[in-house]
Symmetry: C2
């Protein structure tokens, strides 16, 4: 018997077939084609499922399907209430898939599901209270409390990119000002670097950003750091400070056993950034709370989502 775990993103869908020992036996990857509308997305999801069903030797061999989806998810109903990256609103994805394949489906918020992956199969095994902080284009997170993913009252808990670190600070994509995401995400870093270039400062990031069409890559940051590029060092220091303040705020409120840092930026630069972030966090966190908390880098990388989805499918 097998389970299917899926990570449905705004640009790609990852799918995996898990055997009964929670090992990945097959992987499938497809474009989401979100810009082509709802029917196309469902057709892409279906292709991923069907490929995996075939590899499993038929749908009678699939015990369940789990999927992470960006947005506010009502897990009980299996409904995508709202998604920032997909054209779904009050869309019952669970029912749609179940109707078509007669296999039990469980869906959850993609970042939350990633945290579940790290908690059950990665950096957080055995812990009961965890905060996951994912640093990439945006900043997302998830919270495990009393040995259970905490969803909040409408499935929107864990929006840790939107804690306010600076009232009257820069505008955030969410419309508010001074959110952690507006100060420490790759989007925020890009803005800072471009502003410095605009001010006539020299940086090796200028050519690199041109090459990548203005999209800042974590590897570019790593390169800038290695070459001791002044502006890269500056932006990394600033970001670490804001991340430290945010981390301190979160642990002061939630007093977790562990904080897991993940996402593209951490995958590329975790070893450099973590000590900085933690040193700033130490300045702001309550001493006993900081001392009692373990800080780890995520271990599953891009697979966190499909592993978390496996856990949803198993239904623990």
């Amino acid at each position: 018997m097998y389970y299917i775990g899926m990570d449905i993103g705004g640009t790609k869908i990852l799918g995996a077939l898990f055997d009964e020992e929670n090992k990945i036996t097959e992987r499938v990857k497809r474009k989401t084609k979100a810009e082509e509308g709802k029917d196309m997305i469902f057709s892409q999801i279906s292709k991923v499922i069907e490929e995996l069903i075939e590899k499993a030797g038929g749908k009678e061999n699939i015990k369940g399907i789990g999927a992470g989806v960006p947005g506010i998810i009502n897990m009980e109903k299996g409904e995508v209430v709202f998604s920032p990256n997909l054209p779904w609103k009050n869309y019952n994805l669970k029912e749609e898939i179940e109707k078509k394949y007669e296999i039990k489906v469980t869906i959850g918020n993609d970042v939350n599901v990633g945290i579940v992956g790290e908690w059950k199969y990665g950096a957080g095994i055995g812990k009961k209270n965890i905060i996951g902080i994912f640093m990439g284009t945006g900043i997302g997170g998830g919270i495990v409390i009393n040995d259970k993913l905490y969803e909040g009252s409408i499935g929107a808990a864990g929006e840790i990119g939107h804690i306010c670190i600076m009232p009257d600070g820069p505008y955030c994509g969410c419309g508010a000002r001074g959110c952690l995401e507006a100060l420490a995400s790759k989007t925020a870093m890009t803005k800072y670097i471009l502003a410095q270039i605009e001010r006539g400062r020299k940086t090796i990031m200028e050519d690199m950003l041109k090459e990548s069409k203005g999209v800042l890559k974590s590897e570019q940051l790593q390169k800038g750091y290695e070459e001791k590029d002044e502006i890269t060092l500056e932006v990394l220091e600033k970001v670490s400070k804001y991340m430290g303040a945010g981390t301190a705020s979160l642990i002061n409120v939630l007093n977790p056993e562990m904080v897991i840092f993940g996402g593209g930026v951490i995958e590329a630069m975790g070893k450099i950034l973590m000590p900085k972030i933690l040193s700033y966090a130490k300045e702001n966190a309550m001493v006993k709370i900081m001392e009692s908390c373990e800080f780890k880098i995520a271990e599953l990388g891009d697979d966190a989502g499909i592993y978390g989805a496996l856990n949803l499918a198993i239904g623990e």
Copy 2:
């Protein structure tokens, strides 16, 4: 049969006798006399308990004792790990009282216990996910998650006064900078008002603060507001803004069903401050999270602690 609920503070101890319908039948109040040391505090606690036992007609009529205590509390052990206002460190208060009276004792953090009071008997009846925010000399809070008080991994969860609202902001009593408490507590307000007086600005707070020996009272703020004192209006606006940013951060992370505002400042000025705080919160919170959250003023006032302690004693 009766229960005893106690609220053990840095300056006073409140005790109450509850009958089986959760009604208060007797009240006792004594000074804590914390400055006279551990033995004196225990003796004061004992007097409160003994008075209530007597009113109950003997200790065989007491089913349990609950108490809220300031500091980090290990509820399972009944140990005060650390208290900012009382000279206790790794002190097992539960065992001490149980040894002396042979009545089951349960203790918890005072602010958390106050939130439990509001949740079970006050503003939050029937809710499963609540954040309580108490604004007074400091800013404290507590979190109810999935129908249970959330304590955190070492019993220190809910330190919402110490979320960082302003990196490099003013120093806080905790040693960090820019904490909500350093910006929006009565202590912070006092500093702001004194600084304005120092700068030669006129305010009716000057005489009032002299009269109260520099201790800012919530009623003074109310008076200043009613008389349209410029500096009072200024400080209330600033405080509302910081509280709004803090509230937004908290609900974005925890997506609660309800936020309960309490504490001295809110008791005196809640009707004036709440609309301001919520209007600022609305600017920073995720729209759907804000819309789905109910905001209420605490209903039990100073009794929240003893009611919460009753709940500990009942052991739900």
